[in-house]
Symmetry: C2
Subunit: 228 residues, 2 copies
DNA sequence: CATTTTACATACATGCATGGTTGTATATAC
DNA sequence: GTATATACAACCATGCATGTATGTAAAATG
């Protein structure tokens, strides 16, 4: 057919990416055919091969487009300056991540593809390291946040920031997978914020030997009003 | 060729399962060809099709054979009676799970296949529910264990057993995925037990206003001697 | 000992996904 | 305004994975 203008070409590129997202989500990465992607995007395989060298590059492009903004936001939230309590930064960044998944169909589908509909071998083995990088970044950021909280006295005594960071990372990752593995559960929007807050609350300092304070700080489902 | 005796047939069945484990691990489930499995097992595709209807059934059989014993062991450990502290049951069952992965190549490969080399669509969508079942079981068991600890006074005050169980499940699942995602890390054998013990230690009761006790109970890397 | 069933190996038919090639009409550069 | 690069569509060749059908020799059955 006729040649398209640059803007139109970019549009079909986006349509192909969007079609790939849905196709990968429904059929899994390896079973999806570029023919399916093309048809869903309203083009032929020729167009797909024009914009992307092969299925692997299409996958990487799709993933990158959706995940990069999320990582930036999380990183900036956790280490936000001028926080009354650095633990709030940890709490907020985790909450933001899960809210993004709960609110955006696209984001959730992308993560479902990455964690449940992709086989990490051959070309895709490299993605694993990519997936670890945000985790390592969170580990560093969280440890620093915990250390700041320790300095400010908002962290419980006797806890090691590094160990806490690893524990929190495991918690986030696990909750992540639980959410992705059972997306039909309608309680998540209420349950997840409660679990995240309970997780952080376990680590907050409590006035020693003050029963009232201990109760509010250690409660499993604290109804604290959000700061900031 | 010649017909084999029943014992020999069972042996080739096991060889096929073993070959499938390795093939799935190296090439991913969807990319592995039954021809590859057959060749690795020293038979032809005819033998594979004789013992298993198709790749899906082969996958299920492989998974079931390895995972069933693990689930039984974990369940019995967490709810073991006559424990001085029910929290030790939680700790021990989690430790046993990770030890199984760290010690057995077969077990680790099986989990890597399940979590990193399989796409959960079509025939395999049902596996997701299977994967959730152990989690739900652990949730029930852990909540009960936390409740028992609460009754015995070994649990910190102000904590909700149900919320704790969900938190611990998320922690275990997350640590699980971290371990599987970076198996080359040689520190896991030391790090994981420390993290598990630190996780449980955060929830143990501490004698209020006793600095010495608080320090030992809340320490991030407690060197407690194992009970039982 | 005759019959049947078992435990495979071998061969065949089918479909489909991939990658490459070619064609082409138009936007863009000069 | 001409030349060239662009943005695809259409066509083709190849290979490979699956499933099934058939062959077969020995074990199991009675």
């Amino acid at each position: 057919m006729a040649r398209k203008t640059k803007a139109e070409a970019e549009l079909t590129r986006q349509q192909i990416l969007e079609a790939a997202l849905h196709a990968f989500h429904v059929r899994g990465v390896s079973r999806t055919t570029l023919e399916e992607v093309a048809k869903a995007a309203g083009v032929t395989r020729g167009a797909v091969y024009w914009h992307f060298a092969n299925k692997t590059e299409l996958f990487f492009a799709m993933r990158e487009q959706i995940s990069l903004p999320l990582l930036d936001k999380g990183h900036s939230l956790i280490l936000a300056e001028n926080l009354a309590d650095p633990l709030d930064g940890i709490e907020q960044s985790i909450l933001a991540l899960f809210q993004a998944i709960l609110e955006s169909e696209r984001v959730r589908q992308m993560f479902e593809i990455i964690f449940l509909r992709c086989e990490y071998v051959d070309d895709f083995a490299g993605v694993l390291e990519e997936l670890n990088k945000p985790g390592l970044q969170f580990l560093v950021d969280a440890e620093l946040a915990y250390r700041r909280a320790q300095a400010k006295g908002t962290l419980r005594d006797g806890l090691d920031p590094r160990a806490l960071a690893m524990d929190t990372l495991a918690f986030v990752r696990g909750l992540f997978h639980q959410l992705l593995a059972s997306p039909e559960e309608r309680e998540w929007p209420r349950r997840i914020p409660a679990m995240v807050r309970a997780h952080v609350a376990l680590r907050r300092a409590q006035s020693p030997c003050d029963p009232a304070a201990a109760e509010s700080a250690g409660a499993a489902l604290p109804r604290r009003t959000r700061r900031q």
